[in-house]
Amino acid sequence: MIAPFYKFDLFSEEFSFIIAFLIGIGFGFFLERAGFGSAKKLASQFYFTDLAVFKVMFTAIVTAMIGVYYLSIIGILDYNLIYRNETFLVPQIVGGLILGFGFIIGGYCPGTSLVAASTGKLDGLFFLFGVIAGTFGLSLIFPIIEPFYYSTAIGKLNLSDVLLIPYGILVFAVVLMALAGFIAAEWAEKRFTQKTIEVKDEKN
């Protein structure tokens, strides 16, 4: 095992900030390439006319997941040294729903709003200020919601622990699910785009 490099003290914290900046450039670059600096493109996901959000996200998840799995079994990467968030199930489900509301109302998520703002979208900048305002608002009532925030703590829990499926088989199952999802997404796009054009024609 030689990776994660940082956990094996191969470089300093100062140097990790330079890496952070470089990795951020790659992250922002591919978000913009995918078209995620555009709220209209992102929102199309929820009207089934352009499912790029699903396609890009799941291709990225599958790519990184296979990479982590492969590098672990050949003994290069120690999976257990990768930082994982602990699960607080109910706050995370509620937080996810609120985030989903915010996504369709605001048109971005925090990462994509940065790309939108840096490519000149004023709504991206307003969204970004909104995130800071919302976080500030939450901080003011934090003492009240703190018991909820720490509720249903179930620690570091992997999907394979919950479903009782071995890691490798789960990786394979997720790949198959994603492929099925991509086929369904291509089909849905064609169907819903056609429908939209028909509705517009009727209006005219």
């Binding site: 994660p4 940082y6 330079i18 952070a20 900046f21 990795i23 951020g24 450039i25 992250f27 670059f29 591919f30 978000l31 390439r33 600096g37 709220a39 209209k40 009207y47 890009v56 291709t59 990225a60 790519t63 990184a64 997941m65 990479g67 982590v68 590098l71 994982r84 968030n85 699960t87 199930l89 995370q92 489900i93 996810g96 989903g100 915010g102 996504f103 109302i105 048109g107 971005y108 925090p110 790309v115 939108a116 840096s118 490519t119 004023l122 991206g124 307003f126 969204f127 200020f129 909104g130 995130v131 800071i132 305002a133 919302g134 976080t135 992997n158 999907l159 394979s160 622990d161 789960l170």
Partner: protein
């Protein structure tokens, strides 16, 4: 980049977006590199919280140190801006800009559907952002830190979160269609 002439003006028409599967592989490799080099994943909302903590601490240090929310960012007296995600987010701004410039897509504007006003759109962007700030804090991360990173690590809470995000957005999509279409 194609040049089109219109009334004597030369416009640079933006290049089309990348194939989503290719962009996804690119994003996945960046995420994998982050795991291998740093032993952690990508993020975004954490940088917003750290920046806010730095701001609040500058304005009213006593308030910040007495608030449980900010305390975690102010531990050890180090500057909350000395945070990995803060540097990563600066890179995201820069990387998005580079890609946009190369494709001729950096352009001032407001994204909305044809039947929606700019003012309302900006208000909705701010409101949606506020909800995201709240949701991301409750969920311990956003689409980057939870869905993408935790998703690839097959983290149970991250998958529950991801499904909730899609469910939440689809639930409200019908009522917000005028903003987009």
């Amino acid at each position: 980049m194609e040049k089109t002439k219109n009334n004597g003006h030369i416009y640079l028409s933006p290049k089309p977006y990348s194939n989503p599967y290719l962009a996804g592989i690119g994003l996945g490799l960046v995420l994998l590199a982050t795991f291998v080099i740093m032993g952690r994943g990508l993020g975004a909302s954490g940088a917003f919280s750290a920046s806010l903590a730095a701001l609040v601490n500058t304005i009213d240090a006593e308030f910040a140190h007495n608030n449980a929310f900010y305390q975690s960012y102010l531990e050890g007296n180090s500057n909350p801006l000395r945070d990995w995600l803060v540097f990563e987010v600066l890179g995201v701004l820069f990387g998005g800009f580079i890609s946009g410039i190369l494709a001729g897509r950096v352009k001032y504007g407001i994204e909305r559907g044809p039947n929606f006003t700019d003012k309302k759109r900006l208000l909705f962007a701010f409101l949606g952002g506020s909800l995201m700030g709240i949701g991301a804090k409750l969920a311990r991360g956003c689409t980057s830190g939870q869905a993408l990173t935790g998703g690839a690590l097959l983290n149970f809470g991250s998958w529950a979160f991801m499904l909730s995000v899609f469910a939440g957005a689809y639930m409200l999509a019908y009522f917000l269609r005028r903003q987009w279409r």
